[in-house]
């Protein structure tokens, strides 16, 4: 394999037959190139759709309360059900540890003022985990920390709309960190800014520590909502959790088991599941296209190899007459094929990656962004093509070697 002479013989053969080399190389390079580009486009489609719709779905469950419709255990119908801090604490203790957990209180339409500018925005008191649950995309500074929470610090993380509305035109998000705003008349330090691009609603929000919001903006310990991140738990598991959680909450908050309005647990994993299926479909499609490309490429390679070897029947006869054994000739053909296909496969791979890298920055579409190529997939495809190439070369080579040289050398 590492015989210098054998390699020289191979280089010589490969380089002195540019047409043959070119055709074989092209068929492999093209196969890999198309596969890589298809994979890239597929992943671009997937991440594009993910970015556009993905925010709506999440691995999150939400606990909310409303008005109980039915009388239960001596309680009147049509009464307000509230979740208080002790209820929330008990719920948290009741459940196994969840990947993330955030209490929320809302103050819609709160006046926020910076300098002379002011506007009406939504204030949300949250726990640090909200950053993870809400997939908050920070553009500067940091999110609410456990320390902020413990100290009830008056700090705020503001949305992109506030930066645009309240600050001088073109203010960099980083520049708002450290400034002070008036929230419902109380001074808060801005510690961060975020931008949920595409969502005006989210960008009109201000996050403050839950404890701060509860103590400053309301005179009770009501929790408006609890958001629970379910991590990568299976959909079935989250269904079970949400059902048992609802049962427990109804019991604790004295809501009739059949009451649909008093308290509910919304499992947004259900929506996420639909998206998962859509992505699975896209991935399946991309795989299917890739497989077909690979098949077409493999057939092309097999064809070319068969033709190339047949074309060399005479040369094989000569080599045999000059003292080469059949296995040595087959070995050389295989070595040549692998060498040539690996090189051209890498060329195709690089060309495909280069194309994707080249076009990616210029394509901005709702359903397309950030195309990526799975390197392992590309390598696997290369391996398959080379294997197919070798197998399709071995057949004709063995046949060519088994032809008696005088027959192979006979003049037509």
């Amino acid at each position: 394999m590492f015989d210098r002479d054998a390699w020289l013989e191979i280089f010589n053969t490969v380089l002195s037959n540019p047409l043959r080399t070119g055709l074989t190389g092209l068929s492999i390079a093209l196969g890999i190139f198309i596969l890589v580009v298809m994979q890239g486009l597929g992943s671009g489609l997937e991440s594009g759709v993910q970015e556009t719709f993905g925010d709506n779905a999440a691995n999150v469950m939400e606990v909310r309360t409303g008005n109980a419709q039915l009388a239960f255990r001596g309680r009147k119908p049509n009464r307000r059900v509230e979740l208080h801090n002790p209820d929330e604490q008990a719920l948290k203790n009741e459940l196994d540890t969840m990947p993330s957990w955030s209490r929320l209180v809302y103050r819609w339409g709160s006046t926020v003022q910076y300098g002379n500018q002011q506007g009406s925005y939504n204030v949300r008191g949250v726990d640090p985990d909200q950053s993870e649950i809400g997939l908050v995309k920070l553009t500067a500074g940091r999110f609410v920390s456990p320390y902020d929470l413990a100290q009830e610090r008056k700090v705020a993380v503001i949305g992109a709309q506030l930066v645009q509305d309240l600050y001088p035109k073109g203010t960099d998000p980083a520049a708002v960190v450290g400034t002070f705003i008036q929230l419902r008349g109380i001074q808060f330090a801005v510690i961060g800014a975020f931008d949920q691009s595409g969502s005006r609603w989210e960008n009109r929000s201000v996050y403050v520590p839950f404890s701060t919001a509860q103590s400053l903006f309301q005179n009770d310990d009501v929790v408006s909502r609890v958001s629970i991140g379910t991590g990568d738990a299976e959909i079935e598991e989250t269904r079970e959790t949400s059902v048992s959680m609802l049962g427990w909450l109804k019991d604790r908050l004295v809501v009739h088991p059949d009451d649909a309005e008093g308290v509910w647990v919304e499992n947004r994993n259900e929506e996420a599941e639909i998206f998962r299926q859509i992505f699975q479909g896209i991935r399946l499609f991309v795989w299917f296209v890739g497989l077909m490309t690979l098949l077409a490429g493999a057939m092309g390679v097999a064809n070319i190899m068969a033709i190339v070897v047949r074309e060399r029947t005479k040369e094989i006869g000569i080599r045999k007459a000059l003292g080469a054994t059949g296995s040595r000739i087959v070995g050389q053909i295989i070595q040549e094929a692998v060498f040539l296909m690996l090189i051209s496969g890498c060329v195709g791979l690089l060309a495909g990656i280069w194309l994707l890298q080249g076009i990616a920055p210029f394509v901005e579409h709702d359903f397309f962004s950030n195309p990526k190529v799975n390197f392992e997939t590309a390598m696997l495809a290369l391996f398959i093509l080379v294997t197919v190439g070798v197998i399709s070369a071995v057949g004709p080579a063995v046949r060519a070697v088994s032809i008696r040289p005088v027959e192979a050398l006979r003049d037509e």
Partner: protein, 204 residues
């Protein structure tokens, strides 16, 4: 189907023998057998006193490269290799190192008067030159026997004679030469003529 039936002949070392016969007379098959390129069902073939019956492919390749050199009607040079590389190729399969191969190849090209053409590709040479390169290639492994299949079949009479002169001078050095031909004037230059007809020796 039996192609050769009852070939009984002996070619001594140092002979220059012509095999003649019309097409289908079995001369190609005989050459195949002599050249260890084809096996045979019955009978025996002794080369240098050794029985060549039932050789494995590897053994046949070994004996071919040790004992035999081939010259073909259509030269059968490898078209993408230079004259020197073509001449050196048998030594590659004998495991001779590259430098030694090239040295010997030049030496044998000189012997056939083509050392100045060492770097030319076959399609840059005339038919006679190509056949001389092929003869140099047949000689390089120091064979005992050269099997020439219609060596002048593709050449005009002048170059044919040059090639025959070359073969005769090689024969004088003690190498046995078997020439398959259908040209009487070529056969006439050999020591002995074996005429084949329907797989049998018609006369000698």
């Amino acid at each position: 189907m039996d192609v050769l039936k009852g070939i009984d002949c002996k070619i001594d070392a140092g002979e220059l023998v012509a095999i003649m016969g019309s097409s289908g007379s079995g001369k190609s098959t005989l050459l195949n057998v002599l050249g260890l390129l084809d096996d045979f069902d019955q009978g025996s073939y002794h080369l240098d006193g050794m029985n060549m019956k039932g050789l494995s492919e590897k053994q046949a390749a070994k004996y071919r490269s040790e004992f035999l050199g081939f010259v073909f009607q259509s030269f059968n040079l490898i078209h993408y290799k230079t004259a020197m590389e073509n001449v050196a190729l048998p030594l590659y399969y004998q495991g001779v190192n590259r430098r030694k191969r090239q040295e010997l190849a030049l030496q044998f090209l000189k012997k056939v008067g083509l050392e100045a053409w060492y770097n030319h590709l076959p399609n840059q040479m005339s038919g006679g030159q190509k056949q001389r390169v092929a003869i140099a290639r047949a000689l390089i492994s120091n064979p005992r026997v050269i099997l020439a299949d219609e060596p002048t079949g593709a050449l005009d009479s002048k170059t044919s004679n040059e090639v025959m002169e070359l073969l005769k001078s090689i024969n004088k050095e003690g190498i046995t030469i078997v020439v398959v031909t259908h040209e009487n004037e070529i056969a006439a230059q050999c020591h002995r003529i074996i005429r084949l007809r329907d797989g049998q020796i018609e006369n000698e």
